[in-house]
Symmetry: C2
Subunit: 426 residues, 2 copies
Amino acid sequence: MLSALELAGRIEDGELAPADVVDLCAEAIARREDEVGAFAILDVERMRKRAQDRAAELIAAPLRGLPVGVKDLYDTADFPTAYGSPIYAGHRPASDAALVSMIRRAGGLILGKTVMTELAFIDPAGTRNPHHPEHTPGGSSSGSAAAVAAGMLPIAVGTQTAGSIIRPAAFCGVAGYKPSFKLLPMVGCKPFAWSLDTAGLFAARVADVAFAAAAITGRDLRIDRAQPAAPRIALVRTHVWPEASDAMQSAVEDAARLANRAGAKVAEVRLPPIFEDAFRAHGTIQDYEAYRALAFEYDHHRDRIGSKLRAMLDEAGKIAAADYDAARRTARRARQALADLMTDTDVLITPSAPGAAPKTLDSTGFPIFNRLWTLMGAPCINVAGEVDSARLPLGVQIVGRFARDRAALEAALFVEQAIARSHGAK
Amino acid sequence: MLSALELAGRIEDGELAPADVVDLCAEAIARREDEVGAFAILDVERMRKRAQDRAAELIAAPLRGLPVGVKDLYDTADFPTAYGSPIYAGHRPASDAALVSMIRRAGGLILGKTVMTELAFIDPAGTRNPHHPEHTPGGSSSGSAAAVAAGMLPIAVGTQTAGSIIRPAAFCGVAGYKPSFKLLPMVGCKPFAWSLDTAGLFAARVADVAFAAAAITGRDLRIDRAQPAAPRIALVRTHVWPEASDAMQSAVEDAARLANRAGAKVAEVRLPPIFEDAFRAHGTIQDYEAYRALAFEYDHHRDRIGSKLRAMLDEAGKIAAADYDAARRTARRARQALADLMTDTDVLITPSAPGAAPKTLDSTGFPIFNRLWTLMGAPCINVAGEVDSARLPLGVQIVGRFARDRAALEAALFVEQAIARSHGAK
């Protein structure tokens, strides 16, 4: 994989030019893209030229001219934007999404748009898992996770409404960062459920994704300049724990033990029943809002919507406003309960997904370990490093407190280092 | 003015067909539009035909085929959408905004798009106040308020980020309803500041706007079927009270007195200092987000942005993330303080604007009596009925508790009736 932090450092030191990094991506794309299928559209030539023409300006900018891939859910004025749907094939937006503009302002080169499930739901596109072509890369940000895992990009952008960043990051074995709700703007990103849709990032490792977030937002999120402090961690199984594979259960318990051995304070926490209610509330809120957010597509192009999404929307129209309101009240109570629960805890540790990437291209897997945390608006990070017996990645999820993104990233780095040291010792 | 509720009733009773109402609008448009300039684009012929072709279906739908005008900030697939900006002249969106779809689902006919200030900021467009052509109609939803006031439409859609619904409603003497934050979806409406942008409605009187909101959302918001209960009202002056004209101060105090005489419990409440902080926080949040929401326009078309908006964006780029975060924390604390303050109060009563519409077309007036309530996410209603010595409308603002929109509308109706009775008695 391409480490954004390392590449940025080598550009700073004059060892690499931005165009050299474009070439590194282009080489990996030439090797892997035919099999993986991560890109909806690419423009390596234009970006190489821009990297050459504007080298000095890019080197001085926070992202140092690093290539970035953007999920095809974000509007781009210079690339077609299809939102993964045949309804929008060839669509050319009039402007760039806010996050795309911010990446350009920060000196990132948008190398291409990445493949996603149709309209960011669960009808899969053709992307394959770089670790095994018969396994799903996860979704809906399939191409973003796969492109980073295959070394084709150092940074990619995704979104999560249920589990669309953390799950594919886990399946592909990369760092995935779903920030606190609305830390990154959603302007110009096609909505699915406005109370849940959250923009986020993929990169090789936790410090890379933190570097990218810091560079794009101008926030103090870099965590690579000092050793991370030992965090206070709570191991949280949630009511869906029995759905996790044995390997996943072991991976999470193992990560907690390794973090503890490295100096972290680790406790176990049982979530009160309100969180089971909140888990269910997520579905009500998502579906109620999707029926409205996708009203135009449903009312005018129902037969061009994928079967899973169409079936969901057919049902979603029946949800009463009172049930939606009750779900939102449950969410608000659960957010307060989570804040109360975490007064003496920096982060939770819990599975990123039920297991490793399933062997199928007909499903992107299930977001049951993600829905609750998306609804909470909490920062979530997938930590890679653990693997199952077939050497497929198993993702461990770090969940932080709302708006404490830096602490969450630091804790994730701490856990990532503890896992890596243990593997190094084996 | 055209009462949505009365027209819907006459359609239900078979006295009017939907096409007859299109004709009523068309007649008023023929009489007033040249002077007022409320429409960015209109398609009366197509809507008349649709009203005829689909009469039975429309009559059976909640909005009964009533014509609706939509602020040109909302995407429409069948009308050009310019967001009030020369950058987007002739732009044709690929889809309808969610609220536009909901209006169509509810049996509304989108008669046209209404004029707005450039990109929903304060650089005025050409719309004139229907009560006096040398006075501003207010902004940014200028055309929506003016079209309803001139009897050219029974219902119009607007948005408010600072004071863009309540202020023009007050200046034009119509009912304006800014619902609780996100009660109406913003999907497909061009963002300005995502934490603040709120969709809302204009209609002749409070019961009309409540009828329209109920029909569009399917929520229990109709308040015309029984006499409204006597509300518990708190008169709130806020720290900007000295900026209100003598006539406006009298209008608010008069409305409170009349409501009290009609049976409402009226108290006076002094806001604690946190609300002055929140008032200032609104500007920080709005400008920080606008610099990102409008990044594409600013980075690519800076010279085609109006002078006031450009000057704001020039400064907004300097706001630090830490100041934005602090402003959001202030907002959260103030929301909690407002909930605590209103435990025994149904609504607040306060000015909708500093006074009547100023005599100028170079400014849309000031949102100083609106910023705080927009930031609070509270439902706000402009109640018309009071006038100044020149017979220009003075708007009284009713502010409800978050998510208690029905109670807020009912209280606004109570106050509206109390004012109307007193005028009838004069």
